[in-house]
């Protein structure tokens, strides 16, 4: 497994997809800067909690789905597009391990993206808006970041599966965009917001930050993410293990 992880990491070396990390961190930060400036200019009180909430609203519901779907799709589908899939399936290693290797390599990418966004938010709050933050608040927000990283990572097998079937990262991009639309609409509906994976992530995050979310939503959100993760990861491993390579 070590050699698989090494190979998956090295495959990203010099890859343009890594620019998506910067996009994923800076774009929500820019949106946040604009939103926070409006709040300040309108005379309302701005807090660190508001910055964190808004930043991760942008990330979880607007930027995250297309971005992480695209990256996950790329990691999987590049083997087809670079015509390396034949060789990949001829290594004396299990295809399931290759599938898991691709999933694992998404973790550092998501981790860096979200952590970078968090650092930008902290800098923005402390340096630009001069907002006070205590050590316990910082740790609480940091744990929120870790929670979001974990939840976003758990949803990546969904787009991996779509790319495996489509043999391209375009279908996972389309999925990401569709997820944005669904999640934004779903998030506004208390009845349905727990049934969509990405709005469920937002639910769990708001709950962790201390927002008033009902117990029903919390459990349903948790179940939605768990079922999506388990079902899609099982699908991916089985599909990868059994797939035939007719071209590529």
């Amino acid at each position: 497994m070590r050699s698989i992880l090494y190979s998956e990491l090295i495959k990203l070396k010099g890859s343009k997809i890594l620019w998506m990390v910067a996009v994923g961190a800076f774009l929500p930060a820019i949106l946040l800067l604009l939103t926070a400036s409006n709040i300040v200019h309108s005379g309302r009180h701005l807090t660190f909690l508001m910055l964190i909430q808004n930043a991760f609203f942008f990330l979880n519901l607007i930027m995250g789905p297309p971005l992480f779907c695209l990256i996950a799709g790329f990691v999987v589908a590049r083997e087809n597009q670079d015509k390396t899939i034949n060789q990949l399936f001829m290594y004396p290693q299990s295809r399931v391990l290759f599938c898991l290797g691709k999933w694992f390599v998404l973790l550092p990418i998501i981790f860096i993206t979200i952590l970078l966004l968090f650092i930008l938010v902290i800098l923005m709050g402390a340096v630009y808006f001069h907002l006070p933050i205590t050590a316990s608040q910082f740790i609480h927000y940091l744990l929120t970041v870790l929670l979001v990283i974990a939840l976003q990572w758990l949803l990546t097998p969904l787009s991996m599966g779509v790319s495996m079937v489509g043999k391209s990262y375009i279908p996972s991009m389309v999925l990401g965009i569709a997820m944005v639309l669904c999640s934004i609409f779903a998030f506004q509906s208390e009845k349905y917001n727990s049934f969509f994976p990405y709005s469920a992530v937002a639910n769990l995050m708001y709950n962790w930050l201390g927002e008033p979310i009902t117990q029903f939503h919390l459990i349903t959100s948790f179940l939605t993410i768990t079922i999506t993760f388990v079902a899609t990861l099982i699908f991916c491993t089985i599909y990868y293990a059994r797939s035939s390579i007719h071209n590529g």
């Binding site: 090295i10 001829m90 035939s244």
Partner: protein
């Protein structure tokens, strides 16, 4: 006889149509086997089945003496392959592309990467990104990757596709050298007759999914050299005179009283006159040559490059 690869009535069916139909391939250890067939004949499908990339509909594949159900993933350690395209990661250097392969194949010695770069003459380009390579260099990178783990069997699907004549010559020389020096068994597919003829020890001809012939290249060449063909009314007597008077020993007699003489064509006039003098009626006398193209076109009914 040791066989590295054998197929037993191997068949692949798509939508009820046999694209590969009951083929029996026999690849001997240490030989270059040319799998010849026009585009769409079923070469790549066969190779994909051998490589385990698609399942066969029926039949058996035996690799290194083991049938498919006896094989484990470890047998891939003994196979190097380029199937259809020499794929590589475009954002990585030649060296990194090979390093990935080395690690995944479990080869501990980093020097092997340098060794194979030297072998395919890519050492100067080791830091070049794969996307900057010419098609010939990409092909050599593919070959380097398939050789890095010292396979016993090298499977190459159309290895000279898209190469210029110089590139084709280089690949041909490299493969010959590998077979001779490293004793690697090479199974290569091509639709180009001259390429297969120049490299292969055995040729398997596939046409519309059927393996029409599996024959040693030497035998094909023998069957297709110049000969003097004479049709006579008394072939036995004619043969006796040919041996006695002209010391001709390389000849064959076929049905319809045809004698094929494989030497001393310059004596055709004298042979004609002499046999007539001896009361043997010469009905036809002509110097013949079947080209390899003719041979394979006859086999396939047309459609070979």
């Amino acid at each position: 006889m040791d066989y590295v690869l054998r197929t037993d009535y191997l068949t692949k069916q798509y939508k009820g149509i046999n694209v590969v139909n009951n083929i029996n391939i026999n690849v001997k250890q240490g030989e270059i086997y040319g799998f010849l067939g026009e585009n769409g004949a079923g070469k790549t499908t066969t190779i994909r089945m051998i490589a385990g990339l698609i399942p066969q509909t029926s039949g058996e594949i035996e690799l290194f003496g083991k049938k498919k159900h006896e094989q484990s993933k470890r047998h891939f350690e003994r196979i190097g392959a380029i199937i259809e395209f020499p794929g590589s990661y475009p954002n990585l250097s030649v060296y990194d592309n090979l390093e990935i392969h080395r690690r995944l194949m479990g080869i501990p010695d980093k020097k092997e990467t340098d060794w194979v770069l030297e072998l395919v003459q890519l050492m100067d380009a080791k830091k070049k990104k794969a996307k900057e390579l010419s098609l010939g260099m990409k092909q050599r990178l593919g070959i380097a990757r398939s050789l890095l783990h010292h396979p016993d069997l090298l499977i190459l699907d159309e290895p000279t596709n898209g190469l210029d004549p110089k590139g084709i010559k280089e690949i041909r020389q490299l493969l010959k050298r590998l077979a001779e020096d490293n004793k690697i068994t090479i199974f290569l597919s091509s639709h180009i007759l001259s390429e297969v003829q120049q490299m292969a020890d055995t040729i398997g001809v596939i046409h519309k999914g059927n393996l029409l012939k599996e024959i040693e290249t030497e035998k094909v060449m023998d069957q297709n050299k110049h000969y003097l063909q004479i049709r006579v009314d008394k072939p036995e007597a004619a043969c006796q005179w040919l041996e006695k008077e002209f010391s001709i020993t390389k000849y064959s007699v076929s049905e319809e009283n045809i004698i094929k003489i494989y030497e001393k064509f310059q004596l055709s006039g004298e042979v004609n006159r002499f046999l007539n003098q001896k009361g043997i009626f010469v009905d036809e006398l002509v110097v013949m040559k079947d080209t390899l193209e003719d041979y394979f076109l006859k086999l396939t009914g047309g459609g070979m490059s």
